[in-house]
């Protein structure tokens, strides 16, 4: 289903190639990958990315005209909204903490329960979710985008008569594939181009020593697997598969940019990264962290905040001199 397109990846995503590598970093850790998997049926193009950016920021995707993708996955804000549960249509709250869009192109599945294989599938969720953007149907949403004036933009990207829900998701996914955060302090350290604090170095070794990185593995600090996390009442992946063996299973979240995405966990119930680290160590590894170890690990996690994407705010198509059909 997916293939790497190295030439495109090099054009768009080669933010820096390391040469010298720090010698003390544990096996498996490394800088953020710069090549993004591109589905064969959704090749990237500059015009598609630009269209996807408009759609990503445009509140006209919601029934009320008040909610955009960026409302909950705010690019000024680590790709999240820092809410426990996001605020949707008519101020309804969602049931899980909004994951970051940043680097999501690098995950092997989307959502806390992994129910969407890739970004295109994920993007088709929120518009029709009654507690999120609350559109009544694909048709209603497409009619609104047509009225807004999106059709010629789709035409240039996907060909004639191409304004449809699948292509909306494809364009958004293409834009999201540009939302990488390279050159985190850890990445610069790992490639010999920068330094991190001694506390962060101790934390880096500690997460390896106690076993955090058996799941939060590799340069993404997730092995993309599902693991049981016996915390809270949410059944997690069981709600998708119906299998008891998936009860309380969740996708292992990446640590990339984790210092920006408070509050923590699938239910957003934990306000600080330090507390989240302590709970994970206790529940998953039966390890009670000392104050120093907890501090050091948090300092290490802070070094995984990368350079945030530079995005020019788009101008949306709109019908001139006419209101769109927004309502509660």
């Amino acid at each position: 289903m997916q293939r790497l397109l190295p030439s495109f990846a090099i054009t768009l995503f080669l933010f820096g190639a390391g040469i010298a590598q720090a010698t003390d970093i544990p096996d498996g850790m490394g800088p953020l990958p710069t090549a993004v998997p591109i589905p064969a049926d959704n090749p990237m193009s500059a015009e598609k990315i630009e269209l996807g950016k408009k759609l990503y920021f445009d509140p006209a995707l919601s029934l009320s005209g008040n909610i955009s993708c960026n409302s909950c996955h705010n690019l000024g804000n680590g790709g999240v909204d820092n809410q426990r549960f996001s605020i949707g249509h008519k101020w309804q709250r969602g049931g899980r903490n909004a994951p970051t869009v940043l680097n999501a192109a690098l995950w092997e599945s989307q959502f806390w329960d992994g129910r969407a294989p890739q970004l295109e599938d994920q993007a088709k969720g929120p518009p029709l979710n009654p507690v999120e953007m609350a559109d009544i149907s694909e048709k209603q949403l497409m009619t609104r985008l047509m009225r807004a004036g999106y059709e010629p933009l789709f035409g240039r990207v996907f060909g004639a008569h191409s304004l449809n829900y699948d292509n909306t998701a494809k364009a958004i996914a293409a834009f999201e594939r540009t939302l990488l955060t390279p050159d985190a302090p850890f990445d610069l350290y790992a490639t010999g181009k920068g330094s991190i604090s001694n506390a962060a170095k101790r934390g880096m070794l500690k997460v390896d020593e106690i076993g955090c990185t058996s799941c939060h593995a590799g340069p993404l600090f997730t092995d993309n697997s599902f693991k049981r996390f016996a915390f809270g009442t949410d059944p997690g992946r069981k709600a998708v598969t119906g299998k008891d063996e998936d009860d309380h299973f969740f996708r292992v979240q990446s640590w990339r940019n984790v210092a920006l995405t408070a509050p923590y966990f699938h239910d957003g119930s934990v306000d600080t990264l330090e507390q989240a680290v302590r709970i994970m160590a206790k529940i998953q590894l039966d390890t009670k962290l000392s104050d120093t170890d907890a501090y050091d690990i948090v300092e290490f996690l802070k070094t995984l905040t990368g350079k945030q994407p530079v995005v020019t705010y788009p101008v949306f198509p709109r019908p001139l001199g006419k209101a769109l059909d927004f309502h509660d």
Copy 2:
């Protein structure tokens, strides 16, 4: 109170100087002014504009963490939200249609009733308005901005210990003074650099002939006065002054970018620009427009949509690994 700073204006705002002028445009009409009045106590600087941009887009200005200035004055969207009444805290609706922020730096007063003399005053309204951003007090908001990490940014712009509500408003106002929309098709036509349709030209002459431009005067297409508009139940400026003679008086709205700001009027009750034009002609000028005249005038108004500001989406300060205190 205010003075022009031509050198600054030239640096930042000189988007193009016309030479040849179209000879058929009515007296008074002309391209958008490029010099913005700057209050003596709030000089512009690049750092202040950047801080103001962060504050403008940051939903941390609201009690819920869900509403930013840009929510209702969306820069992708003509500086408005295309709602009849904006959606605020807990999905409450405001009482008047949100005016555009675009070119607002050029108006002589702010709000439909003109109750704010300048942008700094306007910016201090929404955060503390219980149906908008709903902050309980200046102190609560400042505490949140402090926790978010804004203090050093204020320090660089305003000096030590300068994180306060006045300076928040000053920074936002400085950013807003950059939000001009020059080079509308009419402006290019007026300066001999472009053309407009024959219908638009007829409309341009018609608004002069029937008297629209006695109030929608000059290059801004507003004389900044207050005029009686006997439409709807809103008492307008009377609610500010308490004077019966101000009953149903509203600020004359600029026509700049009016094709982007549907729905229309202070109560957002009119969905199309054509209908708005017909109502204004009838109520204000006792003129029943022919279909052709209404069409032509709308075509002219569409030529007043300028180049929209190019804005790089900001990254907000946030406490690393800690949630902010957002709540309903």
